[in-house]
């Protein structure tokens, strides 16, 4: 059998921000435990934060802001559909995290009095703490390497394995060669990112999006198959970012005094990123395109913005603006709605976890964009990486041995071999991905209605059949891509059934049902959960009340 096998105690799927932090934390508290990381790209620069970062969006600095205030802000931002415990715990631990990162040499911007530079990103409170660290991922990777962790590059997770009700490992695939690998593991921490390859970007390319396009919802689908519950899949978030380039800049420019204006020069936001909904509304009402103006800022601030934009997160922006002859001193930056993404870190879709990063399945934890701790950003990935590791270590110590499910491995191998077989197949894989994502863009994002969403479900059946029977592949890369497209299709299924279930409109543009245009707090201020049914094609949905001990009165805008 063409399958490689390995054994480890804790398997971390995904070596980005959350995965690195989980590995470091686990080794800190239990150096004797074997840890293995599977990374889809190359570990040194990988994940959504492939290079550096300009800020930690959520830090509760003592005497300046506190977790209760953050909870208020996030509950308002999520219109009440947020479990308070995870968000509260994250805010509580955020300052310790900042101190830890600072100790590792991550540079936070401090003024002469020794205070951190804070910026307003949320509706209330100044939680965003500025950072100037172009080599953040490098620092993390170095820390992991020092801890003697096994790292396997170019592996994407395909499926989790279970031993009874307990997690016993995972099956992965080499994204270059298409080899399968099976790892037996006592606990698994899923850090495989969100779904950033949903509908098509408007640039005309399949890739080149806001989030790392390697995040194709692998984690969602692995969790779903293993029995975890997905929440918030109907939240199709779209942000207004640089036209054509879709690169992040709102938090960097606006918090430093930039103005977001509509085409009639009405100022929507200035100095704080607190009215994202208003931006979407302005575009919907035909007041777009929006733009960011920095002209009025002093030279000092503009060069600071340039420095951060051009070095930290996506340095390629320098090239982009230079090509277009855009100088922030004289020109505005045009914004345009990006493609939709399903993401636990910036949106609110993902595997539902509690404050222990536990998914509800014995031995399975989730952290980062794959888990739903709404709008947790980088802080959440780091904090929940740590939390997941702490709990996984505890559980690992109680487990003696686990068996992998040989039958399931065999069925995965058979499926892979049939997909590799090119006989009578004639659809080009790029064309296939293009069409799938075009159709997703047609039917899934707002405005939604029951008819449209059902249309997608019909298309989905066609696509799943084509994927097995008609799409031809050339090499291992294409095979891995075929699996990614399968995950994209299945994420769209989840999004569609969740949207059908939620018979109301909420979160502005992210979930607007033209057949139920009103927000119904009475009946729908709760989670819509998606579960895998008894068969591959079947998805079940249920609803669950929002939980949490610090439940505050929900803050309604206006």
């Amino acid at each position: 059998m063409n399958i490689r096998r390995m054994q480890t105690d804790i398997l971390i799927i995904g070596g980005g921000s959350a995965g690195c932090m989980a590995a470091i934390r686990a080794k800190e508290i239990a150096p004797e435990i074997n840890i293995c990381i599977w990374e889809k790209a190359d570990f040194k620069y990988s994940g959504s934060i492939a290079r550096g970062m300009d800020a930690l969006n959520i830090v509760c600095i003592p005497n300046l802001s506190d977790p209760d205030l953050y909870l208020e802000a996030i509950q308002s931002g999520c219109k009440g559909v947020v479990d308070s415990d995870p968000s509260y715990v994250m805010a509580q631990r955020s300052y310790d995290l900042l101190k830890k990162l600072e100790k590792w040499g991550v540079r936070f911007i401090v003024d002469k009095k020794g205070n951190y530079r804070t910026l307003q990103y949320h509706v209330k409170g100044r939680f965003q703490t500025a950072m100037d660290e172009p080599d953040l991922k490098l620092i993390l990777a170095q820390k992991v390497l020092e801890k003697n962790v096994t790292i396997l590059n170019r592996i994407m997770g395909i499926s989790l394995l279970k031993d009874g009700d307990q997690i016993s490992g995972a099956v992965g695939m080499n994204t270059r060669t298409g080899e399968l690998i099976v790892s037996q593991a006592k606990t698994v921490i899923l850090c495989a990112g969100g779904q950033a390859r949903f509908n098509l970007p408007n640039s005309g390319y399949l890739y080149g999006t806001f989030d790392y396009p390697g995040n194709s919802g692998d984690g969602f689908i692995m969790g779903l198959d293993a029995g975890a519950k997905l929440t918030g899949m109907e939240y199709c978030s779209s942000v207004n970012l640089i036209k054509d380039a879709s690169m992040p800049l709102l938090a960097i420019t606006v918090t430093r005094g930039g103005r977001v204006m509509d085409c009639f020069e009405n100022v929507i936001m200035e100095g704080a990123v607190n009215r994202i909904d208003e931006m979407n509304k302005a575009v919907d009402e035909g007041r777009g395109p929006l733009r960011i103006s920095l002209k009025h800022l002093p030279e000092e601030t503009i060069s600071e913005i340039e420095h951060i934009l051009f070095t930290c997160e996506r340095p390629v922006q320098e090239r982009f603006f230079r090509n277009r002859h855009i100088d922030f001193r004289t020109h505005d930056i045009e914004l345009w709605p990006t493609e939709v993404q399903l993401c636990g870190g910036h949106g609110m879709s993902g595997i539902r976890v509690d404050e222990n990063a536990w998914t509800g399945i014995y031995g399975l934890y989730a952290a980062g964009d794959v888990a739903c701790v709404p709008k947790q950003h980088l802080t959440g990935a780091f904090v929940f990486g740590e939390i997941a590791a702490e709990n996984a270590v505890k559980v690992t110590k109680n487990i003696n041995d686990v068996c992998v499910d040989e039958k399931k491995i065999l069925s995965i191998l058979n499926k892979k071999e049939s997909r590799e077989n090119n006989l009578d197949k004639n659809i080009d894989i790029k064309e296939f991905e293009y069409k799938v994502r075009r159709i997703i863009g047609d039917y899934i994002p707002s405005p939604k209605n029951e008819y449209k969403l059902h249309r997608w479900l019909e298309w989905s059946k066609v696509f799943k059949n084509d994927l097995e029977m008609k799409v031809k592949i050339e090499d291992g890369h294409d095979l891995a891509r075929l699996y990614e497209i399968e995950h994209i299709i299945r994420c769209a299924d989840c999004s569609a059934v969740a949207a059908i279930t939620r018979k109301e409109s909420r979160w502005g543009d992210a979930h607007f049902r033209s057949d139920y245009p009103e927000t119904d707090n009475q009946n729908w201020q709760k989670h819509v959960l998606v579960l895998q049914g008894d068969k591959y094609e079947n998805l079940d949905t249920t609803t669950a009340p929002v939980s949490g001990l610090n439940q505050k009165e929900i803050f309604h805008e206006n």
């Binding site: 293995c36 040194k44 690998i181 399949l206 790392y212 390697g214 996506r314 080009d428």
Partner: protein
């Protein structure tokens, strides 16, 4: 819809086809087209790399390309039969590049720099026993020291009598890096127990006899695993019936063996990803069975050394066609730039494609 607009530009003059950008590519977009000389090399040495660098007048950088082979280069430069020159593209036109001569030129000129070992920053507290101090054993020891392990050599009684200047030179370098040389009798202590190591490497299958009755020898008809070189648990053998035509194959086997040892000590699957890079244009990283003809031994190194000086070397090197280079294969660029950042030659430029520009 098929938009194959390439956004990554590789400068052919300066690219040394080292493959770092391919390793770094986050979207698995880049691939390396490997130059024939490198494909033919048993130890996958980047000939194009150091030749291009000589041609560009950057000999200090050229040495960096050779450093991973350290003192073994003394042996390679002397004994290699240069399969690279047999496949050189230039051969069709006006005769193959004198690749081996250029290597010898560098080895002679920078011998002091090469007779050292860059030990990995990642410290290991593992001990490795190696039986045999021929080139195979020494190459194993070199690679193990490079990986940060402590190495104990056991000189076989029939090795001890042989006198070889090159091997002695390598041995001295290893000794400087704390390798311990013992007699094979020391392998078994006074109570008859074989000394314990985290991993044990035999340079010949026959060395099994030294392990005594406690270790069950492999039945004669089974071979050592060709990819992983594993014999039994933590015992490895670097001898898998290598081609005797080119002694450099011994070094290739040794490197593969230590790669397996490292994976074994690190709990990784031994054969994962090895021998599978067979797709067109992919890096052939662990190739073992590429042989080019039967080669006759070359003129001894010392006799030719005087011929090559800096100018002729540069002139000779600039004949190189630079066949290998990185290229964009899958059109999946995310413009994240680590490829550009890590390129040692700054030969790669990520442009923004027309549709986004």
């Amino acid at each position: 819809m098929r938009i194959d607009d390439s956004s990554i530009r590789v400068d052919r003059d300066t690219c040394i086809a080292c493959g770092i950008c391919v390793e770094r590519c986050i979207m698995d977009n880049l691939r390396l087209s490997v130059a024939p000389c490198r494909q033919a090399c048993p130890i996958n040495m980047n000939c194009q790399g150091y030749i291009r660098l000589i041609a560009l007048g950057q000999e200090d950088m050229a040495i960096q390309q050779l450093l991973p082979f350290g003192p073994l280069l003394n042996f390679i430069a002397e004994k290699c039969t240069a399969p690279c020159e047999k496949v050189c593209v230039r051969k069709q036109k006006d005769g193959a590049l004198h690749i081996l001569e250029l290597k010898r030129y560098l080895v002679k000129k920078y011998r002091d720099q090469l007779n050292t070992i860059n030990v990995s920053e990642k410290k290991s507290n593992k001990t490795i026993g190696i039986i045999g101090t021929g080139i195979s054993g020494l190459a194993c020891g070199f690679k193990a020291i490079q990986s940060g392990h402590s190495v104990f050599f056991f000189t076989r009684s029939f090795d001890a009598g042989k006198k070889d200047n090159i091997l002695d030179m390598i041995r001295k370098v290893l000794e400087n890096f704390k390798a311990v040389f013992l007699n094979d009798k020391d392998l078994v202590d006074s109570s008859g127990q074989v000394r314990k190591f985290d991993a044990l490497v035999l340079s010949s299958l026959e060395d099994q006899q030294l392990l005594g009755s406690e270790f069950k020898p492999v039945p004669e008809n089974t071979h050592v695993d060709k990819i992983s070189h594993q014999l039994h648990e933590n015992i490895f053998c670097s001898d898998t019936g290598a081609s005797k035509n080119n002694p450099v194959f011994e070094i290739a086997r040794a490197f593969e063996t230590i790669e397996s040892v490292n994976r074994f000590l690190n709990n990784e699957p031994l054969d994962w990803g090895r021998g599978f890079y067979t797709q067109e244009g992919a890096v052939k990283a662990y190739k073992t069975d590429f042989r080019v003809g039967n080669d006759e031994p070359r003129i001894p190194m010392e006799n030719v050394l005087g011929k090559m000086d800096a100018d002729t070397a540069k002139k000779q090197a600039s004949r190189c066609f630079s066949c290998g280079r990185a290229f964009e294969k899958n059109q999946t660029c995310w413009y994240c730039l680590p490829c550009e950042l890590e390129c040692p030659q700054k030969a790669l430029y990520v442009d923004i494609p027309y549709l986004v520009k």
